[in-house]
Amino acid sequence: MIKRAQIVLISVLLLLNSCITQFIPKTSEDKEILVVEGLITDQPAMSSVKLSKSLPLGGKSAAKTLSGCLITVSDDLGSIVNFTESSPGTYTPPGSFTGASGRFYTLHIKSNSFQTGFNYESFPVEMKAVPPIDSVYYEKKTIVESDNYNQKQEGCQIFVNTHDPSDNCKFFRWEYTETWKFILPYPVKNKACWVSSNSDIINIKSTSVLGDDKISRYPLNFVSNLSDRLRVKYSILVNQYSLNEDEYLYWEKLQNISEQVGGLYDIIPSSVPSNMFSFADPNEKVLGYFSVSAITSKRIFIRDFFEGTVTPYTDELCVADTIPGLGPIQNLNYSVWILSQSSIPPPPYTVTTHEKGCSDCTVRGTNVKPDFWLDDK
């Protein structure tokens, strides 16, 4: 809502010969902390609990999942649902399970196998009903105006509108999945693919300070022209989550401290407390949150022309060599791939690449058209 003075300050300082150097902080900690990513929703097959351990800073290794735990969720009516481990570290309820608005849910995590006292529980969390998304729409936004030196560049700002006539849901969170089609500019077999990406920033909004329980023009996602998302066709699926106030504050705190920290005017960082706690040691730090949300969704497609979009598949990046003849080629399909071959007009030649992704779109995406994808008529 309110940007801290930091941004301005840094800008002012930039004028004053400031300089920024990158460094890797040397920290000695290698504690592993339990991370809980729990979600109970009112939609089938969307509830799950994922358990993992935190990763040391700078480590690029995949999350260390935590298998072999006993997960149950109870509600305020006394019913208990047992979760089963569907893949390492991911626990899911029976397929028929959905949460209901107005119920309070509590998550229980236990394990007998690797540690005594491994016993965690959440505070009871209420599921709030969520209104449907009114609209998801976009506007072209000029990034750079064209002038003598620059070509015009445009991005795409995507907005969400919603309102709750019942005035019940005051705290919203959105997650989105972007899917876009891309086509390799070479005559290869797997030429057209779809690729997806999930939102990686926190999108939350409270209407508690607004007169109407109405959100208009919430700037959900800005698609820059510095990717190929907007070149062919783009789709975004927006999931709208209802939050209770505690969870809203949890995400807000995360947002406050994770956007940028360490400056003089930034909030002093500290770990944001979870709604999970350990029975053995109430002071033990637990990361993550047990979320209970109702969900509504909306998908839109964008097929439009945006100035200055780029593609990663340029000749400069892809083409390694143009060799006469049609083969044989050393290390083929090992470190060299064929982009195109031609025998007309003679002499025949072969264009090769060192980037497999340039010759096969399935390296980056899938060539199976997603179910929801609508082709243009």
């Binding site: 002012v12 902390i33 979600l39 005017y265």
Partner: protein
Amino acid sequence: MKFKTQFLFYLILSISVNLGAQEKYRISTNYKGVPFDDFVSAVESALPVKFFYLDEWVKDMKLGDYADCTSLTCIMDNLFKGTSLYYYIDNSGNVVITNNYAVKVNANPSESDNKYLPPTEYSGSVENQRIEANTTVEIGNPAEKNKPGNVVITGYITNKVTKEPVSGVTVFIQKLSAGTISNEYGFYTLTLPRGVHLLQYSFVGMKEKIVGLNLYGAGDLNVDMIDVLIPLKETVISAQKSITLRRFEVGAEKINITSFKLLPTSMGESDIIKSVLLIPGVQSVGEGSAGFNVRGGSADQNLILLYGAPVYNSSHFFGFFSAVNTDIIKDATLYKGGIPSRYGGRISSVLDIGSKEGNRKEFAGNAGISPITTHLSVEGPIIKDTLTYILTARTTYSNWIFGMIKDPALHKSRASFYDLNGKMTWSPDKNNKIDFSAYTSHDAFRFNSDTTYRYNNNIFALKWRHFFNSRFFSSFSLNNSSYNYDISSKYLATEAFVLSHRIYSTGFKADFNWFLGRNEINFGLDLTRYAVSPGSYLPYNDSSLVIPHTIRKEHALEGALYVDDKFQLTDFLSVNAGIRMSSYFSFGPQTVMLYNPEFSKSKSTVTDSLNFNPGQISSKYAGPEFRVSFNFRISDKNSFKINYNRTRQYIHLLSNSTSIAPTDIWKLSDYYLKPQIGDQVAAGFYEMLFRNSFEASAEVYYKEIRNMLDFKGGTNLIMDENIEKDVVNMKGKAYGLELVLKKTEGKIRYSLGYTYSRTFIKSLGTFSDEVINSGKWFPANFDKPNDLVVTFNYLFSRRLSFSSNYTWSTGRPITYPIATYIVSDKLLVTYSDRNEYRIPDYSRLDLSLRISGNLKSHRIAHPFWTFSVYNVLGRQNVYSIYFKKSGQVVNGFMLSVFGRAIPSVTFSFDF
């Protein structure tokens, strides 16, 4: 050296001429039985003399038979014997008669009296000292010279040019190792045995004055002192010699404007807060941070007084400039400890900024220009000697820099400030002085044209000083200080808002000073009424859907009664004992939430609420604050001091960032927020070395602070109606050693200051979200153990001076990210224990050269140039370390504000 000889020569010469002059007034006529008036007429026609007196004093006075007398002085001596009248004759033959007290300049004492030395002998009487008497004065009736016992002399010390009182002047008698310091009215009092004394009047930035005194009885001795920089005739800036030996307070530092104007500047501006930062025990969290930390206290624990009123935001432009213009500052005193009982309300320090009064004699002014700011001040009399004014203004024109930047975001950004000061002083007679002062400062900055920040300080103060008699003074003041900010954003038309916060205080203070024998008693009353608007969030315009929301105003009254007594217990021990009874009441209308005590306070644990009606007291706190100092004078070269003080603070600045930000919120103590209480014990040893040309001191302190505030992780404090649910109660402790060595005389002067200090805090909460670092002690944000400050000045000539300072300190503590984790595809970061790591050490060297254009006094304007280089070594001092996510990796960045040397040129002139 050459200068000194000349001076001595001049002195001797002037005295001998003077003596000759006195002998000249020979009278052979016997005026027996002649009325005084007729005698005066006769003498004035016969001799080149002129008498000044009031008729009522000499009514009915007739001359006796002074047959033995052959000179005017002899007749006058005999005539006034046994009366309350005194006289003196100056070089030009003016015979000035005074009633009740005598000030005889260059008098010729009776030759028969060998207990009283003739003035000429003073010059050589103190060996190996740069002491010569400029003047010799007699006080009292010579006939009383053999009476037993001590007598009290009192007087005012004024600036010769501006006629303003000079406070903080040391009056020292080397032979007796006795002395005192002038108070805020420039008044001083000394109890001395009858006899011959040599009084040294010294104050940093002013020419030292030495007065020979033949003391016969009680009387007044008023002294004029000359500013060193204004006449530019004297190249030696006198030391603050022996001040440290005499002051009662451990850790009080007086800063004179002339001395800090010599310091190198960062952006062409001399700056009061920057000079305060050179004092050992004072630190800041980083370049460009608003506020400063004194002996382990947070920045809101400093009481900054201008015109006797608190300044709530002491900086412009994120702390790169002080909010108080140097042109209005006469002097400033920083109390790091030993805070006198007349000050209260903040627990760590008091920075009392003394402001200038307008020139009583003539119009004068000063103007300056640097690449970023410009300033102008004018002053003068409206009615000569009675009514004066001074006006100063300063502004920046940094906006043109933004305009020149091509980056579209910065191109539309703006940052500007200005401040204005004005003061009128009316001195209807010598016992009354009334002044009215006003101050306003304004800052505005805007980033990328959609969010605008603005903040303002405003102060009005009325002060009446009344002197009942020469032993009893009073001052009454009424002041009003306010600070407010607003943030407005119109990024989204439907959510355009204005957010504002305001603190408003009205203070009344009655202060009395009573000199009673060896006691200096100070007592008074201090009342402050606060009104705080914690926040209001309003729609920016009609198209905005924002619901107007205003958090209810807070009201409170702080009151204190205080008394302290400075007294000389024995010749070597003086004591200052004081008590300040402070109390605080917050009152309604107010609603206080009650929480389930089994859980941490949060919105969901509210059980009930309490309503307080308008005027109903919702919380009250009171307690005594003891302030005690002992000063042991071991010899005339060294002293040992020890003190204890307790301080209570009822208003708090809520800040969950490392430095004070302009958008932090002032909060009054309430039902939940208890006053902060500080206790400090400090001891110091002070010594003058090498014929008093060096001053060395060592001070140690230990301090405990209760009820400090910290905040639960990630809390946003803006528009928070129930702050108690986000607050963590903390306890603090700090200790340190401060070592200083100063050379304060000569063409080359320098000082070395080293501080070792630690500051730790710990959380006292019991619920998991109230516990920071498992409830263990951890270093505070401004814990910088090692701090070295070196300053060096070289005065080449009257026109050219060079100065430099070097600072090195340990980097401040910081909290690092230590691990990452992923929740719903978001890379999140978890942090180390609070303040577990540190940023790299800080080191900086600044240089400055000041050249006066022309010293001819008849020139209309006196121009001077100041060339400064800030951070000469170009060291990239880390201002902050921050972390940014890029993709699935967290990167650390170090930002240096002044990554290389910053030169600046300032052109100023006095007119």
